[in-house]
Amino acid sequence: MAGNLLKGFVRTQNFKCMVKIRLYSSGTSTIDDKEVVHFKKFVSYWWDEFGEFKPLHSMNKIRIPWIRDCILANNEMKDASLPLKGYSVLDVGCGGGILSEPLSRIGADVTGLDANEDLIKAAKAHAELTKANVNYVASSVEDHARENFEKYDAVVSSEVIEHVTQKEEFVKACVECLKPNGSIFFTTISKTKYASFLAIYLGENVIKGIPKGTHHYEKFITPHELQRILEKNNCRTDVVHGTIYNFLTNTWSWWFNSDFTYVLKATKLDKQNC
């Protein structure tokens, strides 16, 4: 079943850090201070702004304003210190919470979803330290959709779909969680030779800014393909915009085409409209 497949999806990055953790903790049977140290290492591994996940950290500088302004586009902002107050957002594939925490900080009522229980635990522990208010749930998006049908004002899935095999089922479940007229956001890597060159060859092999084995060309998806799946699920694509990552300066910028990486925003149409 597709649900089981989805449940089993573990992001390659997660897999890598699992292995690391295992090396540290092997042979310990009783729980002692050492394990606490290991645990902290695991959290800081995700949250080290200059570590392996640094592109995800630096991406916040463009993806958060984009998501925020799209959500606020037709709405009045009541409190500048909590611009997304009153909006519920589902972060699908939240990992350690690199995107969930900032969204909650600007007022959104965030649910962070990840199939990997350990990551959810790490995310929860970090949120406790930083006093971030995020509702983390360890579940597949399919299972989550069953109980949370049309519940969220917005659904975000950032740098996740390029690790998913069953894309159709994944998108369908994401859309199911979304209220009619709600917005759905994706950010991912395009399926082009440029993207493959940049993300896999340059990123993983030459500059080594990304852990080896993180990405697989076959799993990348073009904007058109994603748009097609969304259409099938009653969503109208409003925006596709290219982005680019500079490995040397660790910064993201908007780019004139979607040959490398891109962001996509769609709206779920009312049943009557289709």
């Binding site: 292995v19 080290d48 409190d79 930083t130």
Partner: protein, 462 residues
């Protein structure tokens, strides 16, 4: 397949210690410490202004701010008398004070407007002037330190999210090393606070800076600053700030009222000791001498200056269009004479995880250009902007990525300004002939080349 198997096993091993509860207590701060989003250490001119500015920032209205100051809450008593500690505030920073509502309290008390700044070289008799007395553009504003703090504090007390504690000496800091850790502040009375962002506004001997362990480039000048409040024997239209560059250091008069000016005299240690020992009458005489005494001229310098002057006239750009001379000092406000050691200092980093340095804690300059507190106000404006933006994109306030913007923007400006001030200081401390020639021609030329001058003024007032 194998990957998945390893992965599953890894998960199983990990879950064991993830479910263990013990980490949460040792990993987290003890419950006894109180949390604030921002803690500001030091409530001098800069610390208070920062607290007030952040408190007025709509984008940060949900943040709780704590200001800790070791001295007591001094009340400002309005009086005719002027304190000997005054600062010169650039128009750009006056705007900041206006925006946070503090300027109206200064306006309703007392301040002086500088319309013109005249800098004179004592050895070559050349001078440079900035601004015009009749111009609508102001050069700067002279405000008492105490009044400035009082004005800012009055507004700070209105801010709902700012809390202030006086008589609170900070004993030590525990700065975060990893993401999610908080800065911890331990006070001498035993209480503890944690925060997302700690801002060190604790002056030139900043303890926060020491805790950060950043490199601090610094040296002492063989110069001491003497301040005093001076009186004239007549009422004048007092809107010119004077600075005369003596071989021993600059002597400056800043306007206060129609018959009072404030003195800032930097001079050698030996000379300052003599000056501090003089009677009031003798001191006034020494000041007048400093402002008027004709130094031995170098023939060649004079000649060059003269020919350069006639060249400028020939080119239809007359130098020193309307030169003024400083007023004659009659007396000294009793007990207003005081001296301060002077030094240079610059922290190579203004930030680290969860910490930022602002004002004299980050940089200290020679008072010769009256820039000290202005650099600090520039920091305040920049940090306020950066933190507002950072929060608006969901960044935690202590995030180095966001703080980095503050550091690079301010260092770019501050270093440039500090090098200029330091260069001026060194240039005028010498009396070797070639340097004197260069500097007098430099002064004379800048004085007539309006575009350059305007650029300097713009730079100083933004």
């Amino acid at each position: 397949m194998t990957r998945l198997a390893i992965c599953k096993q890894a998960i199983a091993t990990n879950t064991k210690f993830f479910t263990k509860r013990s980490f949460s207590s040792s990993g987290l701060e003890a419950n006894s410490s109180k949390y604030y989003d921002i803690v500001i250490a030091g409530g001098g001119m800069i610390g208070c202004s920062l607290a007030c500015t952040l408190g007025a920032n709509q984008k940060l209205s949900n943040k709780r701010i704590l200001l800790l100051e070791s001295s007591k809450n001094k009340q400002y008593i309005p009086s005719e008398k002027y304190s000997n500690r005054v600062v010169s505030i650039n128009p750009g920073n006056k705007k900041l004070l206006d925006n946070i509502g503090a300027w109206k309290h200064i306006e309703s008390n007392k301040y002086a407007t500088v319309k013109r700044l005249q800098v004179m070289d004592a050895i070559s008799d050349t001078s440079i002037t900035f601004g015009e007395e009749t111009s609508s553009k102001d050069i700067s504003y002279i405000v008492e330190n105490d009044l400035l703090i009082h004005a800012v504090k009055t507004e700070m007390e209105q801010a709902k999210n700012v809390e202030v504690q006086y008589n609170q000496r900070i004993k030590s800091y525990n700065l975060p090393k990893e993401s999610g850790e908080m800065a911890k502040i331990c006070l001498e009375d035993g209480s503890e606070y944690t925060c997302d962002l700690l801002v060190g506004c604790d002056g030139q001997n900043s303890q926060v800076r020491k805790a950060m362990g950043v490199n601090y480039l610094n040296w002492k000048y063989d110069n001491v600053g003497i301040v005093a409040t001076l009186k004239f024997n007549e009422e004048i239209d007092n809107c010119i700030a004077w600075q005369r560059l003596l071989p021993t250091g600059p002597i400056a008069l800043l306007p206060l009222t129609s018959n009072m000016s404030s003195l800032v005299w930097s001079t050698t240690i030996a000379h300052s000791q003599q000056l501090m020992k003089l009677s009031d009458e003798q001191f006034v005489q020494a000041v007048n001498e400093g402002l008027w005494k004709v130094y031995e001229r170098y023939g060649i310098v004079d000649q060059l200056v003269k020919s350069f002057d006639s060249f400028l006239r020939a080119a239809n750009i007359p130098a020193d269009v309307c030169r003024r001379y400083p007023p004659k000092i009659q007396s000294l406000e009793e007990g207003s004479r005081a001296s301060f050691p002077l030094g240079f200092g610059h922290a190579t980093n203004y930030i680290s995880k969860g910490v930022a340095l602002v004002g004299d804690a980050a940089h200290r300059v020679h008072p010769l250009a009256g820039q000290g507190v202005n650099l600090g106000f520039g920091d305040v404006q920049c940090l306020n902007k950066v933190l507002g933006e950072a929060h608006y994109v969901g960044c935690s306030l202590g995030n180095v990525f966001c703080l980095k913007d503050y550091e690079s923007e301010r260092q770019k400006y501050n270093v440039k300004m500090m090098i200029a001030v330091e260069g001026l200081y060194r240039l005028y401390r010498t009396d070797s002939t070639p340097v004197v020639i260069v500097r007098s021609l430099g002064l004379q030329a800048t004085d007539v080349l309006f575009p350059i001058k305007n650029m300097i003024i713009e730079e100083a007032s933004t």
